[in-house]
Subunit: 403 residues, 2 copies
């Protein structure tokens, strides 16, 4: 097989850990696979360099930050190549440029435009292990760029797509994707497989492991992603296309998002386009809206409820205040003590009664559901924050996710 | 003027010193000059990275070392550019590649083959201060290379030549070139100007400041070099072509080399080509010969004396032992307690009596001269090491170098 292995900052945090990574890569190579490794900077290095830059400027140029920060991954890449060569392998490090990773020129958050795999193909053909400096590329005008948060994962996925790797393994300090947060439900089980779409819906479960950006790219490029830990030989979780998952579980996991607030608007004037006006204005102010419900009151005016991330709440308040000033809305209120619980599973597509079971479970626990939204593979409910853990454990039980 | 300013590792050793460098560059720019800055890695960084590599391998691949070590200069270059921008200038950092520095592919000791100044010319035209990562370039096959010891000086000189800079200032912790080592003769004076050839002969005086490689390149490219300190505003020493020096001093400086040993061969057989045999064999064994004298003895056999660097002495002994074995030489002896004192000055070309004064000065101090060699601009004498400092001070006095 042709395998891409990506190791994050903590996995290459010191020389001993880099040696451990070398051992693992070596085993993979010795098992007969071709390996392309993607590495992050040693943990702490990037923060150190950012602090250096901030010593000189509150707002350093993004292009200079890219020149500065891209050095960290180059150091790890060359050290790992040196370690692998010392073990008798033939390894070669490549900068993002050398690996052919071409991006746009949005410095510090560049997007990969294309990958020219010529140099990598040549090295693989020569039997070499390639160690690519993650997180970085080169713009069409020849300058170093970096890909922003989670950038090394993106490098790995994009490379796996470009060289048509059989597998792209993302090594972190977490052993995979669980049916729910094990800190809330100790009976949570690690999933063997999960589809891209489920993973995207379960973002809150996987956020510490994989950013949605990387999952979306893997889906687009049809890359088989595996998240696993670099600190043991435990198998991880395969994230793949739905067709590759034979037994589709009704529910794969329960996600919890406490970072939500509810905004309630009362006495919204009954005129055409009022809802559109409000939500357009919110969008212009970069307020992310998640769920929306609207009720018509006796007097013909409407009440509108919606949820926003807690961080967007103050912006939302300002926008709503303008509509109250103009008389389009009578009153507003807020609730930050809410949370969103979601059940996710591709099996829902072909089974009925999944949502009903969720509502029954909540009713049995006397938990009031204030908002509901559903998609083909997800049911989300807004409930009072104090019931968050109880709801997660009850649902985990109800769908027998510990079995 | 168009000025290249190069700052070494100690000059950019911490964030405060980088700010000092930014201040100096800023002043130069404000005085109306165009500036291209060349920087080394922060002192200590390169050694740290070398130690990291040696943790994994006693003999790391040179190409990986280049990938690893070239990161240090990139960090300094971007930090300095950020500092200059924060001061209101428009600065841009460039890697060796971006600056157009093309080398051969002798990793860790590459030679600059050519410089494509297009990107630098463009940035200068736009009024930008350029900060180039020194010590590095890119090979024709696209890999990062480094230039070996003193590499950042070479970068600076080569860039100055390529962009036809009026001046190339090398900033170190030493304020310039002195008539002799001030630790031996406190009356030593800093030279305002010195020719390339004198500087090359005075290598031992300038070794801590400038390597001969850089002086030779400056001579070839006709670059006006200035060595000065980054820790004060003191003027430095201009190293330029002889024609630019109006008043040519008889003697510019006194150099001392204690790192020499004398090898004496007795009873060297009187046959054609014997000297050639001996010195060829020494050359094949990488023994560097400096001075040679030969005396014919009463019996027709010869005595040959030569000097070698102390580090080459054991190799020299082995070679000579073979000739003793074969009967070509009767006996050998060694003396490590010698030193070489040289007086250097372009004025010697047109004045007689310079060497005679040196010999008289030695005689007056009862110092025995055991070997002499001369060139157009230099007289070197081998004497007992114990007289080294006395000889230097006496000669410094005799040629009135403190005036």
């Amino acid at each position: 097989m042709l395998i891409v292995q990506k190791f994050g900052g903590t996995s290459v945090g010191d020389l001993e850990r880099i040696q451990n990574v070398a051992n693992r890569v070596s085993e993979t190579k010795k098992a007969g696979h071709d390996v392309v490794v993607v590495v992050s900077a040693m943990s702490g290095e990037t923060n150190k360099l950012v602090a250096y830059a901030e010593h000189f400027s509150a707002d350093p140029e993004r292009s200079e930050m890219d020149m500065l920060l891209s050095s960290g991954e180059r150091v790890t890449a060359s050290l790992l190549a040196i370690a692998l060569n010392a073990m008798g392998h033939s390894a070669v490090s490549m900068s993002g440029r050398k690996a052919g990773i071409v991006t746009d020129n949005l410095h510090t958050k560049a997007r990969i435009e294309e990958i020219d795999p010529t140099a990598m193909h040549k090295a693989i053909k020569e039997g070499k292990i390639i160690v690519v400096a993650g997180f970085q590329g080169v713009s069409l005008d020849g300058n170093v760029t970096t890909l922003g948060r989670g950038g090394s994962d993106l490098s790995a996925v994009a490379i796996a797509g470009a060289i048509k790797a059989d597998l792209c393994e993302i090594y972190t300090d977490v052993s995979g994707i669980y049916t729910t947060d094990p800190r809330i439900e100790p009976k949570a089980k690690k999933l063997d497989k999960i589809s891209y779409d489920e993973m995207l819906e379960l973002a809150s479960l996987g956020a510490k492991v994989l950013q949605n950006r990387s999952v979306e790219l893997a889906k687009k490029l049809n890359v088989n992603l595996v998240t696993r830990t670099s600190f043991s030989n435990e198998e991880g979780t395969l994230i793949t296309k739905e067709e590759n998952i034979m037994e589709k579980p009704l529910v794969s996991g329960i996600a919890l998002d406490k970072n939500q607030a509810r905004v309630s608007l009362f006495g919204v004037k009954d005129r055409t386009g009022i809802a559109s006006d409000i939500f357009n204005k919110l969008a212009q102010n970069n307020v992310n809206i998640d769920m929306i419900i609207q009720n018509v009151a006796h007097d013909g005016s409407a009440n509108i409820d919606f949820t926003v991330p807690v961080g967007d709440l103050s912006d939302a308040k300002k926008v709503v205040a303008e509509f109250i000033e103009s008389g389009d809305i009578t009153e507003q209120s807020y609730d930050e003590k809410i949370c969103k619980v979601s059940i996710v599973g591709v099996g829902m597509k072909s089974h009925t009664g999944v949502a009903a079971k969720a509502f029954t479970t909540m009713a049995n626990e006397n938990i009031n559901i204030t908002m509901i939204s559903t998609s083909e593979i997800k049911v989300s409910m807004v409930i009072a924050e104090k019931y968050a853990e109880l709801a997660v454990r009850s649902l985990h039980d109800a769908y027998e996710l510990d079995k």
